[in-house]
């Protein structure tokens, strides 16, 4: 039954691939969406069965066949459903389905076969993602891991005619490779040390060990896995690909680069909670990296002018939050944030997509404004998303983010808490800057359609014409997601608010970490007073951020420019994303280029080619010598044969 969950999208992929030029557009979209919906239904049923089982031993394992079998190295192609993966598949299939539906309208202007290609990729991605989260062991997960990487590459570069898009795709692919290498190394290390690649067995073995006080094997494994995670989940130092990935179609950004794929790293850590729990240093590294990423990305996000880039950096920053949570051992909180974030970030992306769609490809905030009246649905849903992410009490983001901050504080990482708090301020600020710039004030007209991606033929001149709001296929997913962003948080109302942390208890079996008992206990009977206080603080921070944004971008719109004028250095630094790309280019890319040049013209051209040609030369020489033997006279051959016979017989006679 589990096998059907990834299988259905793959089937959709197959159909859309081979039917690309035969099927009508409607059919293609319908097939893709149906495949996702079916997968969603199956997932729901599967999860239903799962929850039917006793709480502490919830899991469904399906072994399809032995994939690799050599001596004691047995890798089954097995799928495993446990609370954690249950949550993931629900997110992937559910939100994935909505985004598919959204895409049917969003991509409608593509050529039919391009349209088919898009949905084929999308389905393929969904299939791999589900394989990733359902994998019972590292290798199956790795297949999904690489698969989603491939799909992300394909989809970022979907408009490959655009050089930028193609480059962005390549960038994403290469940066991910760096992480993947570490990931593979980690898996190999784990296997060589503990002789297994199965999550459960590995965690079981390691759970038996004491937590490493010094940096040991487990720490090494954890660190390598974490590096892999940073690659996939865009953390410092490998986050640089995600902003560029915005060159892809917006629904793709929503699905892959906000809701699902980028959270794979978080999922990986959650999946191996035990391993990480046994490597305190690595946990600290995770926490610090996460926090730093959150702050850094948030800071950059504040000054970006491309609506999607703002969201991209916001995503990076939110992912940073998740890693921070993981780092302080608040695995549940991290996963919880992953869950809520999937909703409102997908919502925000789709909303921005609706805006872009309405503006016929305009992405620059400075050319928007006043869309509130013209795009009501988009506006309100977007607003809900913004509120949710800002952490205003009562919505999803509030609960999850607050949970993280509280855990951090209670875990004794006050410094990280401070940074996190500042980041949440930034979050609130840039989100509402975005909202106000895009929807409020009056329209700042765009220079007429130019610089649009070829994929967006100008539907109509955006001057003064009435902009069309999101069509049904786009509006419905927006609304659904908006609802989700509101209610998702109530799955895990903290005990402090008299809630009964349903999700936490649901995830407990997957994320239960014996070694962290202490921390959890501490967190649990930490007085709820503190929790309340922290909540108040963070809510005020959120409101402060909103207020600041409102002040700067509704009342005194001159101040931002003044600030820019006052601190041009800082501004430029942030706008240029801290020159990180330039830095990498100088430190990594150029040297490698130079090196390969050298290798090409020295080693390759001389040594290798020389060897090959030399061999050929030798063969020719010997051939021209030996061919003399080939007299072409049958008799000679016969005589030589007989000569050999005489020799052989003679030898046997003498010996």
């Amino acid at each position: 039954m589990l096998s059907w969950i990834p299988l259905l999208p793959f089937i959709g992929f197959a159909i859309n691939t081979f039917g690309a030029r035969r099927l009508p557009a409607k059919a293609i979209g319908a097939i893709a969406s149906l495949a996702m919906f079916a997968a969603f239904v199956v997932s729901v049923v599967a999860v239903g069965r799962l929850t039917a089982q006793p709480a502490d031993s919830r899991e469904i394992v399906q072994t399809l066949f032995t994939w690799i079998g050599s001596a004691d190295f047995q890798v089954p192609l097995a799928l495993r459903l446990d609370p954690l993966s249950a949550l993931m598949i629900l997110v992937v299939t559910g939100i994935g389905f909505l985004i598919h539906v959204y895409s049917t309208a969003y991509m409608i202007e593509e050529e039919p076969h391009e349209y088919a290609r898009y949905f084929a990729y999308l389905n393929l991605f969904a299939g791999f993602m589900l394989l990733l989260v359902l994998g019972e062991n590292f290798l199956v997960l790795f297949v999904g891991w690489e698969g989603v990487g491939l799909c992300s590459y394909l989809l970022i570069g979907f408009w490959y005619q655009k050089g930028v898009a193609a480059d962005a795709g390549k960038k994403a692919f290469i940066v991910n490779r760096i992480g993947d290498v570490a990931f593979v190394l980690g898996v190999l290390l784990a296997f060589s040390q503990f002789g297994t690649v199965s999550f459960r067995e590995l965690n079981g073995v390691i759970a038996g060990l004491p937590a490493e006080s010094s940096f040991g094997v487990v720490s090494a494994i954890a660190l390598l896995l974490f590096i892999g995670a940073t690659g996939k989940s865009a953390q410092i130092p490998l986050y640089v690909w995600l902003p560029d990935a915005m060159e892809g179609p917006t629904p793709v950004s929503a699905l892959i680069h906000a809701a699902t794929m980028v959270t794979a790293g978080v999922y990986l850590i959650g999946r191996n909670a035990v391993v990480f729990a046994h490597a305190p240093e690595v946990l600290t590294i995770v926490a610090v990296i996460g926090t730093a990423t959150a702050l850094w990305a948030g800071a950059i996000g504040m000054v970006q002018n491309d609506i999607k880039r703002v969201l991209a950096y916001s995503t990076v920053s939110q992912l940073g939050y998740m890693f921070m949570a993981m780092g302080v051992g608040a695995f549940t909180a991290g996963i919880f944030h992953l869950f809520t974030h999937a909703f409102f970030k997908a919502l925000l992306f789709l909303g921005s997509g609706a805006v872009i769609h309405a503006l016929a490809g305009e992405q620059d905030l400075r050319h928007m404004g006043g869309l509130k009246k013209e795009l009501p649905v988009t506006y309100w849903t977007f607003l809900i998303g913004a509120i949710a992410i800002a952490g205003v009490p009562g919505l999803a983001g509030f609960f999850s983010k607050d949970e993280i901050l509280y855990r951090t504080f209670a875990g004794g990482h006050q410094l990280l808490w401070v940074v996190g708090a500042v980041t949440s301020l930034m979050t609130a600020f840039y989100m509402f800057r975005l909202v106000f710039l895009a929807f409020h004030g009056e329209r700042r007209h765009a220079p007429v359609a130019q610089g649009f991606s070829p994929a967006y033929p100008v539907v109509h001149d955006s001057h003064h014409a009435h902009l069309h709001d999101a069509p049904m296929a786009m509006a419905i997913p927006l609304v659904v997601l908006a609802i989700g962003s509101v209610v998702a948080g109530y799955l895990n109302v903290p005990a402090g608010l008299g809630g009964s942390a349903v999700l936490e208890r649901f995830l407990e079996p997957s994320l239960h970490v014996p070694a962290m008992e202490g921390a959890h206990a501490a967190a649990d009977h930490a007085d709820h007073a503190l929790e309340i206080v922290l909540m108040i603080v963070s809510s005020t921070i959120a409101f402060a951020g909103i207020g600041l944004a409102a002040f700067l971008y509704l009342k005194r719109t001159d101040i931002p420019d003044a600030l820019v004028a006052k601190f041009p250095g800082v501004y430029l630094f942030l706008v240029r994303k801290g020159y990180i790309d330039e830095l990498y280019d100088a430190v990594v890319v150029q040297p490698i280029k130079a090196l390969s040049e050298g290798v090409l013209w020295k080693a390759d051209a001389r040594v290798i080619d020389g060897a090959v040609n030399g061999t050929g030369q030798i063969v020719v020489e010997t051939g021209s010598l030996v061919r003399r033997v080939q007299t072409g006279s049958v008799r000679t051959y016969a005589v030589s044969v007989l000569f050999g016979a005489v020799l052989v017989v003679g030898y046997f006679l003498w010996s």
Partner: protein, 100 residues
């Protein structure tokens, strides 16, 4: 009664005759015939050994030899015909086109 050696000597003689034929004749067909002679000499020793060691393997191997001989004759003669069409002779020394 005849001893094994009688047969072995006979087979040796036949084999030598065949060898000489292969090496000395100027007619491809005769050469092929000499080849058959050699094969038969070997067959004879096979059967003699089989009979004097009391096993039927000798005879069975001879079947295979005969089969292979048939195949060889078919292909060989086909080649002879094909060659004869090109160079109007059967002298093996005339077939020199495959000189290296």
């Amino acid at each position: 009664m005849a001893e094994l050696n009688h047969y072995l000597v006979l087979s040796g003689v036949l084999f030598t005759i065949g060898t000489a034929g292969v090496l000395l004749r100027r007619n491809v067909i005769t050469v092929l015939l000499s080849l058959e002679v050699m094969l038969n000499a070997v067959n004879l020793s096979f059967i003699a050994f089989g009979r004097f060691l009391g096993s039927s393997d000798g005879q069975i191997i001879v079947f295979f030899v005969i089969t292979v001989a048939a195949a060889e004759a078919a292909v060989g003669l086909a080649l002879v015909i094909a060659l004869f069409r090109h160079v109007e002779t059967l002298n093996p020394d005339a077939f020199r086109q495959l000189r290296g």
